[in-house]
């Protein structure tokens, strides 16, 4: 009996300490700490790939930036008839400060920027022979994000002016410590553009001629052409576009339709965002396509006013539409394969940039404006134009590049009105998201968005 009690006593005493404090040190199973993430070259390159993935999300180049850039510019060419009220705010040019899409474009843009910054800050860890490429890609992505943020959240860049109007905050250091003061004020439009140009110039120097699906030298040059065009720097735009056309090895796809809905980049894609059935987003499909193609049925329908702009019956582009099975509306044929890549810089755009810049400068670098325009037209079976003026070139941009995110920016840089709104109307600049104003005391709201 005594033994029994003794055994039980010791047993219970032992059980008392069954718990071991070491068990409390549990590490996450499928995530790693920042210290590990920024400790090796391999992981820095992983962050770079992660940054492409961020940029390809719905909120940015998975479609929302392109879609909103067009919705903002549409008057009668196309209609947002979808049920979501927040894209409708953009279409109506009356955006409220709590617009979730606008907020997410902002947030996602800075996620891309922070990812790129982390890569740039830690380049020394990367294999030496890879360093230039990695830095070039990171700078390409950073420039891309800043370029769209400054275009959407700031007033148009005015060539030859000081451009002191407010742009967006310039954050150029990767952030991993969130304990400090993270408030940051907006930089001027000039400062943001000069950062974009400098990043793209660097990227062009550092990137290889070809780089698989990732940004290469000519992706950077192509984007730089677009940036210069927006800035009204026509020499820069012309020369950059010319470089891409002449040296990149890209060629126009055989047919207009062949330039879209491709599972792999076409010969025309200077840069495209990658989508597969397993990763990547395509919000353009969601809102432009009918349900059979993976969309919501056609939130954005194309009106006669747009189709009537085509002057040539044979023009494939005038017939690149289909009828929605859901709402009977006319939908664009550019987005019908939900797992296709999203073309982002097509060679056709380079021809049109070179044409416009040459025309404005009265030069014929590479080719004459008319030949460049016809190059694009002929590919789509449209008749050739014997001569072109600025209006022709700008119209050609509308026809060729419709629904790819160019409209509002073209209208602004050419100082054309959007309906009754002047190109520099406050309503054509996004509000700084309310959530951002709420947390960052240094931010000023854009005029016209109340208090």
């Amino acid at each position: 009996m005594k033994n029994y009690k003794l055994i039980l006593s010791s047993l219970s005493a032992a059980l008392l300490f069954v718990g071991c404090e070491d068990n409390l040190n549990l590490e996450p199973f499928q995530e790693i700490s920042t210290e590990v993430a920024i400790a090796t070259g391999e992981n820095i390159e992983n962050i770079l790939i992660g940054t492409y993935a961020e940029a390809g999300e719905n909120d940015s180049y998975g479609g929302d930036i392109q879609m909103f850039s067009d919705l903002y510019g549409f008057t009668n060419e196309a209609t947002w008839g979808g049920t979501f009220s927040q894209p409708r705010e953009v279409f109506n040019k009356r955006i409220f400060t709590d617009n979730v899409y606008v907020r997410n474009i902002w947030l996602n843009g800075y996620e891309v920027i922070n990812g790129a910054n982390l890569v740039i800050d830690n380049l020394s860890l990367v294999d030496e022979e890879r360093q230039a490429t990695v830095e070039g890609e990171a700078k390409f992505l950073r420039a891309l994000a800043y370029f769209d943020l400054v275009r959407l959240f700031g007033q148009q860049y005015e060539a030859g002016e000081e451009n002191t109007q407010q742009g967006v905050p310039l954050s150029l250091q990767g952030i991993t410590d969130y304990s400090g003061d993270l408030n940051i004020a907006r930089s001027s439009v000039e400062e943001v553009y000069s950062q974009v140009v400098s990043d793209l110039t660097d990227a062009y120097e550092m990137l290889p001629e070809t780089n698989g699906i990732f940004a290469d030298k000519y992706s950077a040059q192509g984007l730089l052409a677009r940036v210069y065009l927006q800035m009204g720097n026509y020499e820069g735009a012309r020369d950059a576009a010319d470089d891409v056309i002449e040296n990149s090895g890209h060629s126009l796809a055989a047919s207009y339709a062949g330039a879209f809905n491709n599972d792999a980049d076409s010969s025309e894609d200077v840069f495209a965002f990658q989508v597969t059935s397993q990763d990547g987003d395509n919000d353009l499909i969601v809102h432009y396509a009918d349900q059979a193609a993976g969309g919501r049925g056609g939130d954005i329908t194309i009106n006669d006013a747009f189709v009537d702009k085509f002057d040539s019956e044979e023009d494939e582009r005038a017939d690149f539409f289909y009828e929605s099975a859901q709402n009977d509306g006319r939908l664009t044929g550019k987005y019908t394969n939900q797992f296709a890549n999203i073309p982002f810089i097509r060679l056709a755009e380079m021809y049109l940039i070179r044409a416009e810049a040459n025309f404005r400068l009265g030069t014929e670098v590479g080719n004459s404006p008319a030949d460049d325009v016809n190059m694009v037209r002929n590919r789509a079976n449209a008749s050739s134009l014997s001569s072109v003026d600025l209006e022709d070139i700008l119209l050609e941009r509308e026809l060729e590049l419709a629904f790819e995110g160019f409209l509002i920016h073209d209208l602004k840089r050419t100082k054309r009105s959007v309906g009754e709104l002047s190109y520099d109307d406050q309503a054509l600049v996004f509000p700084i998201p309310q959530r951002e104003i709420d947390v960052n005391t240094l931010l000023d709201q854009n005029p016209g968005y109340g208090i």
Binding site: L16, G19, N23, P28, E31, I47, N114
Partner: protein, 999 residues
């Protein structure tokens, strides 16, 4: 630690020294219970002296006293017995279990306590309170029955999440759900749903196997659960067998249900009228009419809308007639040394929303055996299987309730009987026909336990508990379902969370004379939880006949996750009473958890309490009116560790681009992260009048939450949008009032009433960054305001001149009452609170002859509800959505006075987030009513039955509210913010009949 243990054991042994005194006479005897089981540890005291002892393992005692003195036999949970010492040397006593409200035993965690001597605030519910309520969720059954406990089912889906808030919301970001402990096992209570709407993880429990639910509300009660006690603790105790012959109990009930409320929508005629007007107002007579008629052509899908050929009642299609069937059977009993309880239960609930069903089977065995007079061991084990046919979350187009957005001119079906695919919004009937989402939850919960009595006053308990929550989800969306473009898509997931807990504790319980009563509990507990999740998605199926991943031609997504957490805890509690009237209690818990950084891994949670039973004092003891008057004071600290497993870390997660692996930042870390601390004071009075015919309590509490865990928005320019921080201070304070009365106590008629009312006032006291507001959507955290207060533009009605919606500018220093028609020129204001100020319940129970009748009213006052769907449903024809009928009151011509602005298609006239869609959510509801009849014993005896009872029961029978939406309790299950209704279905109103048979 070894040293401490030795010290403790020495101390205990020291305390076990027996008191002995000069003797006149020795009396011996045995104390047994009603079933004849010897009761060890019964206090045997000579009244008015310090002489006392306890019965041994066999219920025997021996005590000395003088003839004529009174000996008092007392034991927790039993009525005390007094015997005058006469000439006999033997006094055998049978103790009868206490039944009165104040004689109850409450479960306090690692032990029990008599309610009379309790210094804490604990609400106890018994099986009678919760059985027969026709709802599959046990939490729903307790609504309105405990003071200060708000129970709200998120909405009317059968598996819907349930929120229980004990004394208000004590946390912002760490969850406000209490800790559930079933027979000593902390229950896994994580929502594991992957369709966007939460499921209630405790829907797996069946109320038939539950003996009691004890709700630990104040810190003194909850502190013994330390870092997990901040939101209160709900202790569920299952039934046990009683000695005697086996007893069968059989219950069966079946019923029907319907929504508590439906709403009025425009019919075809009204829709055409309003929308034509809206289009004309926006685009002019000619263009507007032409445009809208084109839309009508589309919506009508070939039917003749001009002659109103179709007038579909979409709301009617969204709801179905629900049905419930509930059956359970149990066998219980026991021999001298063994007691057993076996039960099985079946529940089948067809929900009120088309496509929503639940079927559940549960079984339980509770067995305990007295191996020797010192050693008890046993096992409780239960398993259950719950299969749920789910529907989409509230914020999905295929949520059936969103069908109310379809205009009445749209036919629901084509001529061939298939659902009409050409509707403005996806037709949920297509989803219903061509897709399914099945969730299966298997749960095994059990424990083995052993108890060893070293001495009658010292025992050791060791429990090993296990809880497994294993859930699978099978989802298939066929090619004809809305948005399906990949020839079918299947999603399958499985998640297994298992938790084991090992608790070991000593209990020392001893009376010294009739002067000192001491109970000490000391122990350690280790809780280990692991979670494993995987899922796979496949597309491209040969036909819709194939619905499992095996037939998918392409696998497009897969996931596998592991996670876990560990808790290691040391705890102790001492309760001491002096002269049965001065009560003291102290407890402490030292908790460590893997969820916090190494620096902050351990926290200590103490509590102190005192009580004074005034009615035991000489000057009141003889008072016939006042049978109990007790004052209580308690203080304690508890924690809330409910923040996710690795919330303190700076993390990167895996991602991919073009199927190449990458990593991306996933979480902004905070190395300083630690638990939320809740410090609570409670002041209470318990009273009983006229032999406890009237009893009740009043409590006042102040609950300060400090270091609140919160997802603080970061400037997005940093690359992350939120960080978890311990910020801010919040206070809940309030009063609770509970009253129980036995109004009539007669042979053939009894009537008792139980009433509770409580007020909880919530205030955010302090926020970081110099008290800067934190705004998420339509909710704000602002110092001096209640948590998650509504923050939005203030709607000012309609300009009688032009029909514009107006908003108060509310500009700082601006003119009061100034309005604008441009929402961007108006400033948001704090406009209400999503949580009620007052909650209450009233239950009446009557028995007359063989009839029994009881009903419970429940009410809430002071909360507001924001109908986020209002901008579509009641938007004066802003878009093609069908409109609520009140929109017919729109402004039409100058001079019209109305609060519905002019109808303008796409005009955004009054459709921004504003108080236009915010309403008071006060309600009173007849929650439950039961009427039963028990066939007289003479009749049942002939049938060899013990009892035979038939009953009718109803749930949510009546609702009184001014809220215009579906239901004042219905909230969005899609995470759209606190207090938001978004196409949220109302709860079910259920009528059910049943029978109980015992033999």
């Amino acid at each position: 630690m070894k040293v401490k243990l030795n010290f403790f054991v020495t101390l205990l042994i020291g305390l076990i020294v027996q008191f002995s005194y000069a003797q006149q006479k020795t009396v011996t005897g045995t104390v047994i219970d009603e079933q004849g089981i010897p009761l060890p540890g019964v206090n045997v005291i000579v009244e008015g002296t310090v002489t006392g002892t306890q019965t041994d393992f066999d219920g025997n005692y021996s005590i000395n006293g003088e003839v004529g003195e009174t000996i008092v036999f007392s034991f927790v949970g039993f009525q005390s017995v007094e015997q005058v010492l006469g000439t006999s040397d033997t006094i055998n006593v049978t103790l009868v279990e206490a039944t009165g409200e104040l004689e109850e035993v409450v479960v306090v965690g690692y032990g029990t306590q008599s309610k009379r001597k309790l210094t804490d605030n604990i609400s106890k519910l018994t099986s009678e309170d919760i059985s027969e309520v026709p709802t599959p969720s046990i939490q729903n059954a307790i609504a309105g029955k405990a003071a200060g406990v708000q129970v709200s089912q998120v909405n009317g889906k059968v598996e819907g999440g349930v929120n229980i808030r004990i004394r208000g919301v004590a946390s912002i970001g760490a969850g406000s759900e209490p800790l559930y402990v079933l027979d000593g096992v902390p229950l896994i209570n994580n929502n594991e749903s992957n369709n966007g709407a939460p499921t209630n993880p405790l829907v797996t429990l069946s109320s038939n196997e539950i003996e009691s639910i004890d709700i630990l509300k104040d810190a003194s009660a909850a502190a013994v659960y330390g870092s997990r006690g901040a939101n209160g603790v709900v202790i569920i105790t299952t039934k046990k067998g009683k000695q005697g012959k086996g007893r069968f109990s059989l219950n069966y009930s079946t019923g029907v249900s319907e929504p508590t409320n439906t709403r009025e929508w425009l019919n075809s005629n009204e829709y055409i009228e309003l929308m034509t007007e809206a289009a004309v107002n926006s685009f002019g007579e000619a263009d507007g009419t032409e445009y809208i008629e084109g839309i009508f052509d589309f919506l009508a899908n070939g039917t003749d809308w001009r002659n109103r050929e179709v007038d579909t009642d979409w709301q009617d299609l969204a709801f179905q007639n629900g049905q419930t069937t509930d059956a359970d059977v149990s066998v219980s009993g026991g021999s001298e040394n063994t007691s057993y309880f076996f039960s099985g239960a079946y529940n089948n609930t067809k929900g009120i929303i088309t496509g929503n069903d639940l079927e559940r089977v549960t079984a339980r065995a509770n067995i305990s055996h007295r191996v020797s007079d010192k050693f008890n061991a046993g096992m409780n084990i239960s398993f259950s299987r719950t299969e749920i046919d789910r529907i989409a979350n509230d914020n999905a187009f295929v949520n059936p309730i969103q069908a109310i957005a379809q205009p009445a001119i749209s036919p629901a079906y084509l001529e061939n009987g298939d659902p009409n695919p050409n509707t403005i919004y996806p037709n949920f009937l297509l989803q219903e026909k061509h897709a399914f989402f099945n969730t299966n939850i298997r749960r095994v919960t059990g424990k083995t336990f052993a108890e060893y009595l070293f001495f009658p006053s010292l025992k050791f308990n060791t429990d090993f508990g296990y809880d497994l929550y294993y859930q699978t989800e099978d989802n298939y969306v066929g090619r004809l379902a809305p948005f399906q473009s990949t020839n079918g898509q299947a999603y399958a997931s499985s998640v297994g969370t298992e938790s084991y807990v090992s608790s070991n504790y000593f209990t020392y319980d001893k009376s010294f004379g009739n002067v000192h009563d001491l109970e000490v509990v000391v122990g350690v507990e280790y809780n280990h939880t692991n979670r494993r999740f995987q899922s796979v998605t496949g597309i491209e199926f040969p036909t819709d006949d194939f619905t499992t991943i095996a037939s998918a031609a392409e696998i497009t997504a897969g996931n596998g996750e592991l996670s876990g957490n560990r808790f290691l805890s040391y705890f102790g509690r001492a309760t001491y009473s002096f002269l049965d009237r001065y009560l003291f209690k102290a407890s402490i818990r030292h908790d460590g958890s893997s969820r916090f950084g190494n620096e902050n891994q351990f926290g200590t949670f103490p509590s102190l309490a005192g009580g004074w039973i005034v009615s035991e004092e000489e000057f009141l003891r003889e008072n016939d009116v006042l049978s109990l008057l007790k004052f209580r004071v308690s203080w304690g600290k508890t924690g809330n560790a409910n923040i996710g497993d690795f919330a303190s870390r700076n993390l990167f997660t895996g991602t991919s681009y073009n199927q190449r692996p990458g990593i991306a930042p996933s979480q902004a870390g905070n190395t300083l992260l630690t638990w939320e601390n809740v410090e609570q004071y409670n002041y209470g009075v318990d009273f009983g009048i006229i032999n406890d015919r009237i009893s009740g309590s009043v409590d006042y509490y102040v609950k300060n939450s400090d270091g609140l865990l919160f997802s603080v928005p970061l400037p997005g320019t940093s690359g992350q949008d939120v960080i978890t921080r311990n910020i801010g201070v919040m206070q809940n304070s309030g009063i609770e009032f509970a009253l129980n009365t036995d109004n009539v106590v007669r042979e053939n008629f009894t009537w008792s009433t139980s009433f509770n009312l409580s007020q909880n006032r919530n205030e955010v006291k302090s926020l970081p960054n110099n008290g800067a507001d934190i705004i998420t959507g339509q909710n704000i955290f602002r110092e001096g305001q209640p948590i998650s207060a509504f923050y939005m533009l203030e709607y000012a009605g309609v300009d009688p001149e032009n029909g514009d919606a107006l908003y108060f500018t509310n500009e700082e220093g601006g003119v009061s009452g100034e309005t604008t028609n441009n929402p961007n020129d108006a400033r948001r204001v704090v406009a209400g609170s999503p949580y009620p100020l007052w909650i209450g319940g009233l239950t009446n129970t009557m028995n007359f002859g063989g009839f029994d009748f009881n009903f419970t009213f429940q009410g809430e006052w002071g909360a507001d509800i924001y109908n986020a769907g209002g901008i579509y449903q009641s938007a004066n024809g802003d878009y093609f959505d069908n409109q609520s009928r009140d929109q017919l009151n729109r402004w039409q011509q100058p001079g019209d006075i109305t609060d519905v602005p002019q109808a303008r298609l796409f005009g955004a006239n009054g459709t921004v987030q504003s108080t236009r869609y915010l309403q008071n959510a006060d309600f009173i509801r007849l929650r439950n009513l039961t009427f039963g009849y028990t066939i007289p014993t003479q009749v049942t005896e002939n049938l060899k039955l013990e009892t035979f009872r038939v009953y009718f029961t109803g749930f949510n029978l009546l609702t009184f509210t001014d809220y215009d939406g579906y239901d004042p309790e219905a909230r969005s299950d899609a995470g759209q913010g606190a207090g938001v209704d978004f196409y949220s279905p109302p709860p079910a109103r259920t009528y059910s009949v049943g029978v109980n048979i015992n033999f």
